[in-house]
Symmetry: C2
Subunit: 99 residues, 2 copies
DNA sequence: AATGTTGTTCGTATATTTACGAATGAAAAT
DNA sequence: ATTTTCATTCGTAAATATACGAACAACATT
C-alpha cells in the first residue's frame, strides 16, 4: 500500500533529474546542437562527437529518459529533437532554482 | 608534454560540472536551503535531511568541489555558505544554455 | 534473395556514486 | 586530563555510469 514517505519535493526531484541529464559534457554538446537547429540526425552527431556510435546511443537514451529530447525514425536515419515542453519546464525550474 | 586535444569546450565542461553537482535531490535541497538563508550549519542540515551524517559530509564535499559552496569551521560547528561568485557563474551559464 | 546503411542493444570492463557505521580528529566543556 | 560534541574520513557494499566493439534489427537498394 506504499507507506513510503517522500524524501524530497517534486521540485527537487525534477531539478535533480534534469541536472543529471546535463551532467556530462557530451550531453551538453548534444543539447546545444539540438537547441540551435530544430533537429539533428544521429549520424551527423556521431561524425562530430568524440565517442563511439554505441556510446552516443546511450547518451541519447539518457536524454530521452530525462524527457529533454525525443527521437523518431525517419528511415534510414534517426532524427532527434528537443522536447520543447520539458525543455521549457527545465528552464523554468533552473531559473527558479538560481533565483 | 600534454598533446591531448580538448574534447569539449570550457562552457560545456562547466555546465556539466555544475549540473552534476545538482544531480542529486539532496544536494538540490541543501543548495535551496543555503540560498534561502545566507549560511547553514552541518548539524542543522543533518537534522532535517533523510541521510546519515557521513553521507551528508560526502554530498557537501561534492558541492564544495564543484565550487558551489564553501565551508568554514566555526567551533564547535561547521558553517556552509553559497559561493556567490560561482553561484552567479552557474546561473549565467544555465540561463545561457537554456536560451 | 543478397547486400549495405543506420542505429540500437548486448556483453563486458572499469570507474564513479551513493550509502552506512565505525573510527578518527579537533576543539570545548567538565 | 577526561569527556563530550561535532563533523570528517575510512572501510565497505551495492548500484549506476561510461565506454567500447560485436552482434543484431530494420529498412532500402541492388
Amino acid at each position: 500500500m506504499a507507506v513510503e514517505t517522500k524524501k524530497y519535493t517534486d521540485n527537487q526531484e525534477l531539478i535533480a533529474k534534469f541536472s543529471n541529464a546535463l551532467g556530462h559534457p557530451v550531453r551538453v554538446a548534444i543539447l546545444q546542437q539540438l537547441s540551435k537547429q530544430s533537429c539533428c540526425f544521429h549520424g551527423d552527431m556521431a561524425e562530430v562527437l568524440p565517442i563511439a556510435n554505441s556510446t552516443l546511443s546511450q547518451h541519447l537514451k539518457v536524454l530521452r529518459e530525462a524527457g529533454l529530447i525525443q527521437g523518431e525514425i525517419d528511415p534510414p536515419k534517426t532524427k532527434y529533437c528537443i522536447n520543447k515542453d520539458n525543455w521549457h519546464l527545465a528552464k523554468g525550474l533552473m531559473i527558479g532554482f538560481f533565483d
